[in-house]
């Protein structure tokens, strides 16, 4: 395990922000740390980086206790917390050079990083004049600069346009598959995490509600197919008679959970053969809120 915590708790005053968290992040994984705003994601990340003092519980990173091996552990972590921390009066390159100086990294590596995040053209522009996306990319470059084994990214795609999001996603997948890195990435968007994560942890109000591989999560959030038909009530009743469970009937469409692609075809054929005109049919995933409800109700 790259990160493993046990009974991790943290209070801000009287308010308990992180409750007895037990994270298990295996090596070579992209661990998606999901939760709505204010769930305790950033606090957890700050605990992992030893920026906040743990109230109780333990943190082991690379199988070493964090508190007593702080420097050794931090030297293998690259991190981006909330908005990237950038000196606005310096240019992008100066920001990286400044960090490179502290970490004893070569200038060549700085140029590589600038190229990697497509900031070479804007390298000598003041970071204060960067757009949100550019700042975010510079923040990612800063995190990647020391070539860390573990990347801890707090909402790295915040403020990026779709292209930027795809680029970051591909970059992270490449880092994990080709360079054997481990990525711990927090987000409040399930869809984003689903596309790249191998493992998922879901946190709400400081409590870890779910943890496991992405397959386990798919098991819980059973995908559904949304069918747009002419007469939803009749069609729904018909499908129920055929042994399908219909979870939602509205004026325009039906929602039916499915287990395999063949089932979708079957639904389509059945409806068509029996005179129900199908206008559209597509898969939907439960959104995070529904998933939370599901998970909390199960617990």
């Amino acid at each position: 395990m790259v990160i493993s915590t046990e009974g991790l708790s943290f209070n801000f005053g009287n308010q308990q922000v992180v409750k007895s968290l037990s994270l298990q992040v295996p090596e070579g994984s992209i661990y998606g740390f999901l939760g709505p705003n204010g769930a305790g994601k950033t606090t957890t990340i700050k605990l992992l980086l030893n920026l906040l003092k743990t109230d109780s519980g333990s943190i082991h990173i690379f199988d070493k206790e964090l508190q007593s091996n702080r420097i050794e552990i931090l030297s293998q972590i690259g991190s981006l917390i909330e908005q990237p921390a950038i000196y606005l009066h310096l240019s992008g390159k100066e920001n990286l050079m400044n960090r490179a100086l502290l970490l004893e990294v070569s200038e060549q590596r700085v140029d590589e990083m600038l190229k990697l995040v497509h900031l070479t053209d804007a390298a000598n522009k003041k970071a204060g004049k960067y757009s949100l996306g550019m700042k975010q990319r510079l923040g990612i470059a800063l995190a990647l600069l020391p070539d860390p084994k573990l990347l801890i990214l707090d909402e790295p795609t915040n403020g990026l346009d779709p292209n930027g999001i795809i680029e970051i996603r591909e970059l992270l997948i490449k880092l994990v598959t080709k360079h054997q890195k481990t990525v711990f990435i927090s987000s409040h968007l399930l869809a984003e995490v689903e596309r790249m994560a191998t493992h998922v942890g879901i946190i709400d109000k400081g409590e870890l509600l779910f943890q496991g591989s992405i397959k386990d999560l798919e098991g819980i959030s059973q995908p559904q197919v949304q069918v747009e038909v002419a007469d939803t009530v009749d069609a729904g009743n018909f499908l129920k008679k055929q042994g399908f469970t219909v979870t939602d009937i509205s004026e325009f469409h039906l929602c039916i959970p499915f287990n395999s692609k063949e089932q979708i075809g079957e639904i389509n054929t059945l409806l068509n053969k029996n005179g129900y005109v199908v206008y559209s049919i597509h898969k939907i995933h439960k959104d995070l809120e529904k998933l939370f409800l599901d998970i909390t109700q199960k617990a």
Binding site: L49, L51, L74, I81, Q83, A85, I86, Y87, L102
Partner: protein, 242 residues
């Protein structure tokens, strides 16, 4: 940076001011030339330190980089002490430049206007000593202000505390309170007071300038500096980075 502007203003101030200086003998001329600045410095220095302490830390507050600084594989001790040493260096640089400018402009004036008798007397070493003493006397304030600026994100808290304490220091030193030497913010003005009146009060004769470098206020200043510095480190160690 900030100190540079102060020097520039002083530059100009010196130049126009020194035009009015009469043809005093060398010693008095030097005293008149450096005295007012020294006098102003005793008030100005604590405020200057407030600014320096603030500017060194505000860079990180503004860019929100404390979190990334402290998540680097660098001991917290190094980050903290490097910041402090830099602030120390800025104060030293500032005072050293004052000495240089006073000497430089004094000599420049004697070249430009031969009627000035700056070259009759040399007070380089005395001046250096006075400013060295000022530097030492300011260390207590520096430690306190540095820590305040590190802890508080905004400018008003360290500034307000520094301002009030400076005024208190000036008052305490001027009413000749016996224990003023225990209060760090009184140290610069005590230093200047101990240097100037003795010289000026000597009447018509050639004033003897003696600088007693290690007086008890300097010792208090140094011990406050060291205590607060070490205390500050433990606060930083315990402090959570938000």
């Amino acid at each position: 940076m900030l100190p540079l502007i102060i020097y520039l203003i002083l530059f100009i101030g010196f130049f126009s001011h020194s035009e009015k200086l009469s043809t005093h003998p060398g010693v008095l001329l030097w005293l008149e030339f450096s005295g007012p600045v020294l006098f102003v410095m005793s008030f100005l220095l604590p405020m200057l330190i407030v600014f320096i302490g603030y500017s060194v830390n505000s860079v990180e507050h503004k860019a929100d980089t404390w979190k990334s600084l402290f998540s680097l594989p660098i001991p917290k001790w190094s980050v903290y002490s490097a910041k402090y040493v830099y602030a120390l260096f800025l104060v030293f640089l500032c005072l050293a430049l004052f000495v240089l400018f006073i000497l430089g402009f004094g000599n420049l004036l004697s070249v430009l206007k031969p009627s000035f008798k700056f070259n009759q007397y040399h007070m380089e070493s005395t001046l250096a000593k006075v400013y060295l003493k000022l530097f030492l006397s300011s260390l207590g304030i520096l430690s306190i202000q540095f820590l305040l600026s590190l802890l508080f994100r905004d400018f008003l808290k360290p500034m307000g505390i520094g301002f009030v304490a400076t005024i208190a220091g000036v008052i305490l030193a001027n009413i000749n309170w016996d224990y003023a030497y225990l209060f760090p913010y009184s140290h610069p003005i005590l230093t200047v007071k101990n240097v100037l009146p003795r010289n000026m009060g000597d009447g018509g004769g050639m004033p003897q300038i003696t600088v007693d470098l290690f007086t008890k206020d300097i010792f208090v200043s140094l011990s406050v500096a060291i205590t607060v510095f070490i205390l500050g480190y433990f606060i930083v160690l315990k402090k959570s980075v938000k």
